[in-house]
Symmetry: C2
Subunit: 353 residues, 2 copies
Amino acid sequence: MNKAESLRVPAESLREFCCACFEKLGLGPAHANITADHLIFANLRGVDSHGVIRLKVYAERLRAGGTNARAQPQVVRQGEAEALIDADNGVGQVPAVQAMKLAIAKAKKVGVGLVGVRNSNHFGAAAFYAMMALEEKMIGFAATNSGPTMAPAGGREARLGNNPLAIAIPARKRLPIVLDMATGAVAWGKIFMAQQEKKKIPLSWALDKNGLPTDDPDKAADKGLIQPLGGYKGYGLSLVIDIFTGILCGSAFSVQVKSLYRNVAQSSHCAHMCAAVRIDRFMPFAQFCRRVDEIIDLMHSCPHASSVERIYVPGEIEHETQQRRLARGIPLNPVLKKELAALGDELDVSPPF
Amino acid sequence: MNKAESLRVPAESLREFCCACFEKLGLGPAHANITADHLIFANLRGVDSHGVIRLKVYAERLRAGGTNARAQPQVVRQGEAEALIDADNGVGQVPAVQAMKLAIAKAKKVGVGLVGVRNSNHFGAAAFYAMMALEEKMIGFAATNSGPTMAPAGGREARLGNNPLAIAIPARKRLPIVLDMATGAVAWGKIFMAQQEKKKIPLSWALDKNGLPTDDPDKAADKGLIQPLGGYKGYGLSLVIDIFTGILCGSAFSVQVKSLYRNVAQSSHCAHMCAAVRIDRFMPFAQFCRRVDEIIDLMHSCPHASSVERIYVPGEIEHETQQRRLARGIPLNPVLKKELAALGDELDVSPPF
């Protein structure tokens, strides 16, 4: 990014701006806060694809009614270890936070908690929810289904979302491990970059419009699809996540899930699943954390290829970005800055720049 | 395979042979039965890498003491939703079956059951345990860690196992979905085949001895390593499985896990995790199964690439193989036949051919 053109905004100012926008869009203060926190969390960790870049489409959906601004998520079923929440078609962040809190409360009592959410919308970065378990000395999980963008292995039509899974694991002296991965081989952004740079892409990334693997990013972008991670394995993972969220929770699945962008007046009806596991039911917490430190050190100390500078564990790059951005602000490119300024104008909220 | 050289043995005869061998090796009848059932299950489903081909090394380990023939697995901790079993260094199949039964019993009571196993050995095909949940109208999970064969992304030394994960989901008119996948990009067998056929391999499969991706199967086989599935994602999954099994259960992890083959007098100290989720705590079971049928149909009916004959869901190929082999017997190649005959001789058990 051209530094001259890039603007940096303190995280707290950007958070307040988002929060004020959400309140103007009809969300109550508590819900506006959760959703704003979530977008800023993604930006701070360098996951800009899930940060304030989504504010515009969230606003469009809230205004068009595709997302219910006055939603009141409710627990509709529950037992000792599990529960189901109906999101009332609101923003996905609010019921997902509620689900993770409930999963943690259940795990406190019986060792494991598993809470699903139905009739929801885009819930953003899955790591946010999984990481809520860390301060409770638990392992956290979060997954969601999403609008169809991938074909089953061998297919050439989108029937499954690029469904993500996040897992957060506490450590002691080292950083917690936070794995947050989609089940596709790659994000579209990387294919668009290859197009701009006129570079070939690996044959495992995308399909052309005939369902054949292609190394030409232009052919991928012309009605092609992202391939599932590693072919049939990523397909299997995406399918299983769809069943565990959409099907088990009684929400939309496969082609029934509506895209965040396609029709802003239409609810997504996606579903999420959150889980927490109480570590001290298996071994003393401090001992567990020391063991996690040990495995992290074993990864870091692994001899590496000459082309590689250092070995990371999942979540480490994001944590370092977060430290940097907390100190130096969140970068906004000119297009995004203009978009946020225009939204602020429409909603009568002063932008933080 | 050359049909003239290939022998087919009825599953039941082969099972009885395995069972008799295990009893001669010191396992009690119940444990011998479970372990034999498991090996035959793998062969029936076409997962020959986990079938009777393992009998020889199992025998060597039982005789050398690396696997404890008289092991009595015990529940060492338990709560409402979770438990931990110490395998007493016996064959992995026995405590894993016990763990899955206990997970199912816990899920019956509180909705979810999660049971770990420590101080164990090779547990074979993970699908076996996950599928135990199907007849109980539950979703089943099973995972294990294993001896190190993969490097973390960027590394060039084995620090993680090709740790597998299995998930079984019931359907109604369709077959259950059974995903059983390792976290490596590919099995070594495929690289050996490319060597024999003098073909290049995809760059995403293996590393050479310097930790660099190679498309030359000879370089991969010369002190190289399998790559994790899709690079950093497969690395993350393998690491998380190691933590959820080895670390959480208080067993060996990463380089501490001993290979099945390296030193037969040494216990593997690997760990497993089994889980069950009661479906009717989320929605009526019949409705869930109809919805699973629907998503299976959506996969099957997806338009496919001209090079592809049909689209499968996970577990379908294995089920079809199972039907065929139940009717026609399990094929044994000449090398394996000779190996089994020699073992039968040593143990004074008549081979089933």
